[in-house]
Symmetry: C2
Subunit: 212 residues, 2 copies
């Protein structure tokens, strides 16, 4: 298969993309949309069926909203994953999504950086985490070059990793609560403070399949 | 209040302690039991009521079983928090606890090191995380010296932090999957590899209220 999925066109899906584009840098917004497209490609690859094995609407919301915590809209008083989960949940609640489904999206967003745990909290959290990881190049062997090119041409990378690290570090600087030890924010701040060099995440991006 | 809670005496509670003592070092087992007692003290302090606001049996199971992933019984092929959640869940299932309650314990154990997330996944995960953190000295202002002394005399610390770090690093050495970046295991391994000094966690223990 060499095509890529289309974005959903429901009014709420359109509003979701508009909201994210209004809050986030273009680079982070594009990353969020690509994460959804990668997650959909992975679902097909693994034989996971929309409506049966996972809720495709919720996967769209979780992926597209997952980095809202890096945006100026965030409270800036808790780790960015949870800030993003709260903003995403508030947006969906305001738009009439019911509590149970909102909580599933909350969980998927909050856990998107929790390696080894998100993958065990149901298909939505699994696919969200994997979609995000795929946009860092992890596990992308099944994605064809044609698919990758289409995806990156529709939603350019724009130095995504450095842009995202910048935003996470900026969020961390807003409060001492935001970058606890043993979290991605805590380690990115430590690495940037330490030597002024590129973080491990940025170094890895240089040699990843998507080569930034 | 200057007394400390008693451990539950149901047959399954007794078996749980026996199981943990059979699997873990004395130091880690004592830490696990103290985590439960601290969690119970916190529940009282915060006015959280057993049976109404949280399930006291599940809190006991989650706290006492939370570090099983550091024991030789662990599969050694995933992060220790998840290894522990799997072992704890299997133990409870084998002892007739129903799936829904087992999943709540799984979640509380898997998230016990996830700062800022566990606190938002319901009272069980909240109290489990806080109970563990209290045994590192965090947020212990409400605990009286008499309570702390009773707790530590019943369940001595035995250099808990170094002992636990040793076990997490030992578990991490069993597979490259066990210590991903941005997890406690990943950072402890990095710190020990880097300079052979005490890890940040061990350094903090020296000046914590429980002074190791």
């Amino acid at each position: 298969m060499n095509t890529i999925p289309a974005l959903p066109t429901t009014p709420l899906a359109v509003r979701t993309v508009e909201y994210v584009r209004a809050c986030e840098t273009e680079s982070v917004a594009n990353h969020s949309i690509r994460s959804y497209l990668f997650a959909e490609l992975l679902a097909v690859h693994e034989g996971l069926r929309p409506s049966v094995d996972f809720d495709a609407d919720l996967l769209f919301f979780a992926c597209v909203l997952h980095d809202l915590g890096t945006s100026p809209a965030a409270s800036g008083n808790q780790r960015f994953e949870v800030d993003g989960a709260d903003l995403g949940a508030a947006f969906l609640t305001d738009n009439g999504v019911d509590t149970r489904r909102v909580d599933l999206v909350w969980e998927a967003i909050a856990l998107h950086s929790s390696s080894g745990i998100a993958e065990r909290r149901g298909t939505l959290a699994y696919l969200t985490r994997k979609g995000v990881a795929l946009d860092f190049g992890a596990g992308s062997e099944f994605v064809t070059d044609t698919q990758a090119d289409a995806l990156h041409s529709g939603y350019p990378r724009l130095q995504m990793v450095t842009s995202l690290v910048d935003e996470i570090v900026r969020h961390a600087a807003r409060s001492p609560h935001n970058a606890p030890r043993y979290t991605i924010a805590g380690e990115l701040v430590r690495e940037r403070d330490q030597d002024g060099h590129a973080t491990t995440l940025e170094q890895a991006a240089l040699t990843s399949r998507w080569g930034e």
